[in-house]
Symmetry: C2
Subunit: 381 residues, 2 copies
């Protein structure tokens, strides 16, 4: 029997409440159950509505807690059984209180594709792109958990043109949850002491709003209406077998951006539109790795807080079927996607559901699943 992708090698953290009004609390997913950690570990840090208090204990506590949970599940099933709740009897919540949310732009192919479309008369990549991981701050207050309906945003789509976005899109990304803070005026230390785990991110994007507003200060309302994340935060330790060196870089990055510890990640993403796979973005093809993003984000002395979230930017690989956004998959709507029911899509229509999933190699040839991030488009108000 193949090991479950939600077995002992995975154990992602989330926040749940039992159907019927219990206040949210922290659990780990194990198979098709949630383990109630406050009950199983007799620790009130888990009887709160976010992972932040637990994360604030630091990376040694993260490792120890994971070891304790694994041990209990493996060796004393009878003791934990009363604290295992079937997934279909819980509601999942946003797992973290988000501090700052930063979105990067780390795929060479995504940045090149968007450059070609948004600035057809220029070099696709700006001169800085190969020298630093380009990023910007997004809106942390509109980070929502998977399953939250996405209301189609309205806004300006050009001079004097106002209305619902006609180019509603997704960006399939990987997000990194900061559990270890750093001081103002200092820099981040080791990646694994700051980053607690990863989550899938859908950075919903209104391309028509974005294209009109984004010069010169960057994307704003074209992104800020919603960003969805998975309810499950996969701890870094569960990704040990997914670690790869990361894509070759030219020119050689500056010292502060030198990679340490192989934090390229061999994750296979899938993007589904109404259940049908439309793209398979390979995370291992990303140009900038998450340790580089972290080093860059703090090199100017910016502090980190527990709960900060940063995302990779759209994961797009070199092949056409590996692009993580519809603007790329349909080349700004000029090459519609054909779906199996005979219909076509350029950008998203009301009622469409987009679901992003991912897997990683586990330690024994098995597979680890990341929590999916899904959302359905509701009509504009």
């Amino acid at each position: 029997m193949t090991a479950s992708p939600w077995g002992l090698d995975n154990l992602p953290y989330g926040v749940f409440s039992r159907t019927g009004g219990e206040t949210p609390r922290v659990g780990v997913r194990y198979g098709d159950h949630v383990l109630d950690l406050a009950g199983a570990l007799h620790d009130e840090v888990f009887a709160t509505g976010s992972l932040n208090a637990f994360m604030a204990r630091g990376s040694a506590a993260w490792r120890d807690t994971r070891a304790v949970i694994r041990n209990k599940l493996a060796t004393d099933p009878a003791a934990v059984e009363p604290h295992l709740i079937p997934l279909d009897r819980v509601r999942l919540h946003l797992p973290i209180e988000v501090g700052d949310y930063v979105d990067f732009y780390c795929s060479l192919e995504h940045a090149s594709n968007l450059g070609r479309m948004f600035r057809p008369d220029e070099e696709p990549l700006k001169p800085n792109w190969r020298h630093l991981p380009v990023g910007y701050h997004g809106r942390s207050g509109t980070v929502v958990v998977s399953g939250t309906p996405i209301v189609r945003p309205s806004g300006q789509r050009g001079a004097g043109v106002f209305g619902p976005s006609a180019k509603l899109d997704i960006e399939a990304e990987l997000g990194f949850v900061v559990g270890g803070p750093s001081p103002l005026g200092g820099r981040a230390g080791r990646f694994e002491d700051h980053v607690f785990g990863v989550t899938l991110v859908n950075d919903w994007s209104a391309r028509d709003i974005q294209a009109w507003e984004y010069v010169p200060l960057g994307p704003f309302l074209g992104k800020s209406f919603a960003t969805s994340i998975s309810p499950w935060i996969t701890p870094l330790e569960a990704l040990a077998s997914a670690r790869v060196p990361g894509r070759a870089q030219d020119p050689e990055p500056l010292d502060y951006l030198r990679r340490a510890g192989q934090w390229g990640l061999d994750l296979a993403l899938e993007v589904r539109l109404n259940g049908e796979v439309v793209s398979r973005p390979p995370y291992r093809e990303m140009y900038w790795t998450p340790d580089q993003m972290l080093a860059h984000m703090t090199v100017n002395g910016a502090s980190l807080r527990v709960g900060d979230l940063y995302a990779s930017g759209t994961v797009s690989g070199p092949e056409a079927g590996q692009r993580g956004s519809f603007i790329e998959l349909t080349w700004n709507g000029t090459e519609p996607i054909k779906l199996s029911d005979g219909s076509v899509r350029t950008f998203l229509e009301d009622g469409d559901t987009v679901t992003i999933t991912a897997t990683a190699p586990g330690p024994d040839g098995n597979v680890i699943a990341l929590g999916e991030v899904s959302g359905t488009v509701n009509p504009a108000r």
Copy 2:
């Protein structure tokens, strides 16, 4: 005798602790004293380290509380006297827990000046500028209270060039503190039901880092190392006599940006370098008014949270002595400022102290002071 600029018509809110380790709590400034509100009003909502819990009560409570405080101070000085603490015996703290921080770009002159310097071969204003208040998200975790030392940031200043910023600058701005939330997928309502008050903002900026990094996604590390705000939040009601229609706009803004209620503000800012006035930016000259910024920020369905902060962007007026940043005052360093001691400045040097103050007209020909925002530059680490 002239009325104090910190009298009954002002009464800004802040968070203080008595020298000697008391936990921070909410007060209002009255003359050279702080009124301890938890003590004076017997209300535990003020016995917390930020204004957020009080702000969450809503705009009716803001008005009622202000009326009660004014009445007590005016009619029953003996009763409040035990709760008045001399300013020189308290420490002032960051007054709010900042949710999201958005920075706009609302001065026609500032946007034009920067366009001329950063993009000399193009029209200074981008095509969108007169159609919408351009803005972007900044880093809320590095918003600090006035007096916090500012460590000179390091970063990339060009391809392969790394080191301390050689173009450290300020931006003199007005900030708006959101006390009334709005739902995801909805829009903000009346300005005065969402915005609790105003604060002076210094959006410290490293121009060399910013110029290299900011395409195409906007400013990031050139700004995220620190943003200083005043310890005092001036309630909107104290600015009643400062309200003006706002500068004429051409073209006519779209419906959702139509002004309501005269939220142009006749504030006179002063920027001091090491005590010497170097600029007097007039807030009333701003092109986009704060009610327009609020409407724009939420037109796409983005929610507001208690504690969100948004700022106007650099306040620069039409005259040379009214520019709110050194990059403008010195035209990117090409026209140094002469100081009274015979020295000159282009950008900031280590040890420099920048202080921004402002006044507004009060109800009886008197003057209201805003809390100053000040910071001293420390050497790079």
